[in-house]
């Protein structure tokens, strides 16, 4: 198993798409998380400006990162998940892998573990670059540097990883179902952008859909983020990732996300085990 994980890690590590997606995600996180809010902070009364800037200082690191994870980050790692599984179908490499020595379960398992490790790297890279950005802002503003507690940062990284893992696993599942990349990316983005967004927007008008919306990835992701300090006001201004509720408890959100992760992985493994490899 460790050999297979090492093999799969080598594949993702040497694949340009991994690094391109990481670069895009970090750039997005920096731009929308720090650069844009900083340069657009109102010039008005000093107190208003200070309140805006405070969100960008090291003390607010965890909430600043998590604001962008449930939606922008999710859709981006969904693409990563699609590429990792869809590529195998595109290149026909499953037949090569499945004639080595290990069972299909083990190989797909190794692939998913490798993806999980990469996502942990993504989460840590996001925190590291965000910490750096907040430090720069503190220095520019001459503000005192106080870091959030280590336990909050760890929980933040954990929540980021869990949200990433669910979206990426959805990408893997879509790729496995469609046995390719193109359709899976299309459907994944359609779902993440349009369906989740429409449902969340509808919630404002029709209370009937509330239980449904509470089950969506975005609702659970944002609920998880909210327990770590992301303000509901901030999520409402999140552009196409806009979310105004309903929020569920942190425990419920964590359990729901874990259940999604397990379900996506189980269906993927079951599918790949059962089907013929062309």
């Amino acid at each position: 198993m460790t050999g297979s994980i090492a093999a799969e890690l080598m594949i993702v590590r040497k694949r340009a798409a991994t690094w391109i997606l990481l670069g895009i995600w970090i750039a997005l996180a920096m731009f929308f998380g720090y650069i844009l809010p900083y340069v657009s902070a109102p010039d008005g009364p000093e107190a208003v400006r200070q309140a805006e800037i405070a969100d960008l200082l090291p003390g607010q690191l965890v909430s600043a990162v998590l604001e962008g994870v449930p939606f922008f980050g999710g859709v981006l790692v969904l693409i990563l998940g699609v590429l990792i599984m869809g590529g195998e179908y595109g290149w026909g490499t499953l037949k090569t892998l499945f004639t080595q020595r290990s069972s299909r379960t083990l190989i797909v398992g190794a692939k998913l573990v490798a993806l999980g490790i990469v996502l942990l790297g993504f989460a840590m890279a996001t925190f590291a670059t965000s910490a750096l950005a907040s430090l720069v802002i503190a220095w520019l503003e001459d503000a005192p540097v106080t870091w959030p507690s280590a336990s909050l940062v760890l929980r933040g990284i954990g929540a980021t990883w869990l949200i990433f893992a669910v979206w990426a696993a959805l990408g893997v599942l879509l790729a496995a179902i469609s046995r390719g990349t193109a359709l899976a990316i299309g459907i994944g983005i359609l779902y993440g952008l349009v369906i989740e967004g429409l449902m969340a927007a509808l919630f404002d008008q029709i209370s009937l859909v509330q239980p449904l919306v509470e089950g969506l990835l975005r609702a659970n992701g944002y609920s998880l983020a909210a327990t770590l300090g992301v303000s509901t006001a901030a999520t409402q201004e999140n552009g196409p990732g806009m979310f105004s509720g309903p929020f569920v408890s942190g425990l419920q959100a964590t359990l729901a996300m874990a259940a999604y992760l397990i379900a996506f992985v189980a269906i993927t493994v079951g599918l790949i085990r059962r089907r013929d490899i062309a």
């Binding site: 090492a6 080598m10 040497k14 340009a16 490499t93 004639t99 080595q100 020595r101 290990s102 490899i277």
Partner: protein
């Protein structure tokens, strides 16, 4: 199938140079004691149906340890589908297969099998060497094997290039290298010389021949009859999913015959008929097709000359596998249209 088998009964299977050189005494021993233990591949009623189409139809394949087995058939006959089932990539609709003593596709079996099915499939952004590294890690093979197999297939010099930049022949070589990585007991190669230049074909054939020596078994699919004729100990011919003939190349090929052109032909025919040892004489265009042991050639010639017949040509002919193959395939075509 019966026709071919019948022909085998009285065939004295002439030993030629290739056979003597290829068949080590050990091989004959394996063949003699052909019991369960010597069968590396054994399928029973192996069948695969896709909707209405039956791709593989009750195939009973038996491949013995140490032989190079050629799996021949026209396009769409079911070769690749059969090989996929042997590797567990495709689940049979009916029947079962045991490969190297384990059920098809089980990890225990796969550990002893090296395979290349259809076009070689690798990660395009990795070098040839890195692709092998990935497979070695998955298979638990020491990395030292990688350079060995790269040398073996003649790809060492370009092993650092990305797979996507390889020519078709180089991709094919990498596929064979990957199949060799585990130093497998059984090699399953689906049209291994596909896309190679003549020199490459020759190299790979020699490689396969050398690999097939000793206890290693090679199952090779092809529609190149010459190739199969050159490197295989035994051949199975598959047509429309059914195994229609099986035997050594010589068994399938039947006996050598004599081609004689002489003047006048009618008279020559009746003279030859009277020569002892001649079994059959028939017209074959402007020549005669004589079924007789080729050692009678001199006698036949003498009889013709003393009867005052001008002999233009007297040649020993070896029926090619191709003729038999085409016969079998054409039989089928008439079946289909009937």
């Amino acid at each position: 199938m019966n026709a071919v088998r019948e022909r085998n009964v009285n065939a004295a299977a002439p030993e030629n140079g290739r056979d003597r050189e290829r068949r080590a005494p050990a091989y004959d021993a394996y063949v003699d004691e052909m019991d369960g233990d010597t069968l590396v591949i054994e399928t029973r009623g192996l069948t695969k149906r896709y909707d209405e189409r039956t791709a593989v139809d009750h195939v009973d394949l038996r491949v013995r340890r140490g032989e190079v087995y050629g799996f021949l058939g026209p396009n769409g006959a079911g070769k690749t589908t059969t090989l996929r089932m042997l590797l567990g990539l495709v689940r049979p609709t009916a029947g079962d297969a045991r490969v190297v003593g384990a059920p098809a596709g089980s990890p225990a079996g796969l550990a002893k099998i090296g395979a290349m099915i259809e076009a070689p499939a690798f990660y395009p952004f990795l070098s040839g060497r890195d692709n092998l590294r990935v497979l070695a890690k998955h298979a638990g093979v020491p990395e030292a094997r990688i350079e060995t197999v790269l040398e073996e297939v003649g790809l060492a010099a370009r092993a650092g290039d990305r797979f996507s930049a390889y020519s078709q022949g180089m991709k094919q070589r990498l596929g064979i290298a990957a199949a060799l990585l585990k130093d497998p007991e059984l090699l399953i190669l689906d049209e291994p010389t596909n896309g190679l230049d003549p020199e490459g074909m020759l190299e790979i054939r020699e490689l396969i021949r050398s690999l097939g020596q000793g206890r290693r078994t090679v199952l090779l699919s092809s529609h190149l009859l010459g190739e199969v004729e050159q490197i295989c100990d035994r051949v199975g011919i598959i047509r429309a999913g059914k195994l229609v003939a099986e035997g050594t190349v010589d068994e399938l090929r039947g006996r050598d015959w004599l081609r004689i052109s002489a003047e006048p032909l009618e008279q020559a025919q009746s003279v030859i008929r009277r020569v002892p040892g001649v079994e059959q004489v028939s017209r074959n265009g402007r020549a005669l097709h004589v079924t007789a042991d080729p050692s009678h050639a001199a006698e036949i010639n003498r009889a013709l000359v003393s009867a005052g017949i001008a002999v233009h040509e007297l040649r020993r002919e070896r029926p090619g596998l191709e003729a038999i193959f085409l016969d079998l395939v054409r039989d089928h075509e008439t079946e289909v249209h009937a």
